[in-house]
């Protein structure tokens, strides 16, 4: 694309369906790892 460069592979919606296992570290939440 000439006008737009997408910087990431967005998967937030996918992660809502698959996520929530709760094994991640208790925590800015966005810098936590799955």
């Amino acid at each position: 694309m000439k006008h737009i460069k997408t910087l990431n592979k967005a998967n937030l919606k996918e992660s809502a369906a698959k996520g929530g296992c709760g094994e991640c570290q208790a925590s800015t939440v966005a810098n936590q790892k799955c």
Partner: protein, 452 residues
């Protein structure tokens, strides 16, 4: 919902509900202001008319076609479908403890939210037996969770180092029996570090937070000993020794900036020049009446400082001299799942604090607020009504958060700050929100700059 902004010459478009981040050109940036969903296949006439005098029509149409492709791919103006998951929020197992191993401290930091170490309840140390009861509580209340976390906190944890060692040994002795993996962390002011405690911390602690505010004069102005003398000269050599011996295990040198050092990027770079590459320097949280408190009047200066820090971090990264600044950490491809983003920090639900007396509070910042006491590890009691209240406190139960573009990054912010400074755990603290949004804009911009 989308968020667009221009920073450091970059035009950035964030699609909030998908998490997609796009770097766009100036035409695209301007065109977006004429678009509202649902989009049709054809570029709106209003946009063609408004931008026609500035850009060739063919370029506007081509740009719109690219945006429309993102729209049909679910990466622009994507729907908010997460409320259904918020409705399913239920109490989770407890998986993390903040263990207040010492309500005493050998520093008298002027901004300490713990009332210089005792949380306003008198100076005391946690008996090791109470710490073991807390471990028993966690083993029982964590149910199927394998990864459990215990943070040794205070006050100054090293003032009760023998109890720290005893509690760690006790927890380790239970791991195989219960099928658990304990991860310990510790936050220290560094004064009591010695060869013994450094060896122990580097062996047992998966993360260590080393408190220091930056330049000597900045640090010593607020982080003074009981006799008023500074702490900088005593702690820097100890931190260097600990980090050098730690190898590649996690650590942070962690500072607080106040109204006294709004030029805090100098403190960040000073810490880097001391040899540290995992750095966090964060805004003080304090009542607006405190002389060192940050207020909304300070926001322009703080924003400018974050931008300055961003530009320098980009330059250093490109020159191969980069380092990690905690509040600019952002994993755009993965990061936490949407459920975690809805839940936030988990305080009062997945995460609780335990005082030296064994009392349980939603988190370390609630300690001392009697109305929020949740039980005791000594009697194995936990107020499930309060726990449920926190379990249901998420970005969809906070009206102001629902309309905010940053909601999946801050997850509704800190409940304790909300309560203390906005009066309710469901009402966000505006100053914290503004700072968080600025940091996110900078963090995303850094990603854009480094993607070139």
């Amino acid at each position: 919902m989308i968020h667009t902004y221009e920073l450091n010459g970059y035009h950035i478009l964030l699609d909030v509900n998908s998490g997609a981040v796009h770097l766009v050109d100036k035409l695209c940036f301007e065109l977006l202001s004429y678009l509202t969903p649902p989009l049709s296949e054809r570029c709106p006439d209003a946009a063609l008319t408004a931008l026609g005098g500035k850009y060739p029509k063919a370029d506007i149409v081509a740009c719109y076609d690219e945006l429309y492709r993102l729209y049909t791919d679910g990466l622009l103006f994507s729907e908010d479908s997460y409320a259904q998951f918020a409705d399913q929020m239920v109490s989770s197992p407890v998986k993390a403890l903040c263990l207040h191993i010492a309500h005493d401290c050998n520093l008298r930091c002027s901004y300490c939210f713990a009332s210089t170490g005792d949380f306003g309840a008198g100076r005391k140390l946690m008996p090791a037996e109470t710490g073991k009861k807390a471990i028993d509580f966690l083993l029982k209340r964590s149910y199927g969770r394998r990864n459990l976390e215990v943070d040794f906190f205070g006050g100054e944890p090293l003032m009760n180092f023998d109890a720290v060692k005893e509690v760690v040994a006790y927890a380790r002795s239970k791991e195989a029996e219960y099928g658990k993996n304990f991860r310990f962390t510790i936050t220290t002011n560094g004064l009591m570090l010695n060869d013994d405690s450094i060896d122990f911390i580097n062996r047992e602690m998966s993360n260590v937070v080393l408190s220091i505010d930056g330049r000597r004069e900045v640090n010593d102005r607020v982080r003074a000993r009981v006799d008023g003398s500074g702490s900088y000269d005593a702690i820097v050599p100890k931190y260097r020794r600990l980090v050098e011996a730690r190898g590649d295990r996690d650590y942070y040198v962690r500072g607080t900036f106040t109204k006294y050092n709004l030029d805090f990027s100098k403190d960040v770079f000073h810490l880097n020049e001391l040899g540290f590459d995992q750095i966090s320097v964060e805004p003080v949280v304090a009542p607006a009446t405190a002389p060192y408190a940050l207020t909304e009047d300070d926001l322009p200066a703080i924003f400018a400082e974050y931008e300055k820090l961003s530009r320098e971090l980009i330059a250093r990264e490109k020159a191969g001299r980069g380092f990690n600044f905690f509040h600019f950490m952002l994993d755009l491809d993965q990061g936490p799942c949407a459920i975690k983003r809805l839940r936030g920090c988990g305080c009062g639900n997945e995460y609780v604090a335990v005082t030296p007396d064994g009392d349980i509070y939603p988190c370390h910042q609630f300690v001392g607020m009697e109305d929020w006491k949740m039980g005791s590890v000594l009697t194995d009691t936990l107020d499930l009504e309060k726990k449920d209240l926190f379990a249901r406190t998420n970005i969809y139960s906070k009206p102001e958060c629902q309309a905010c573009w940053a909601k999946f990054y801050c997850s509704g912010g800190c409940n304790a700050n909300s309560l203390q400074y906005a009066g309710s755990i469901t009402k966000p603290h505006r100053l914290s929100c503004e700072l968080e949004k600025k940091r996110l804009e900078c963090a995303i911009m850094i990603k854009a700059a480094l993607s070139e």
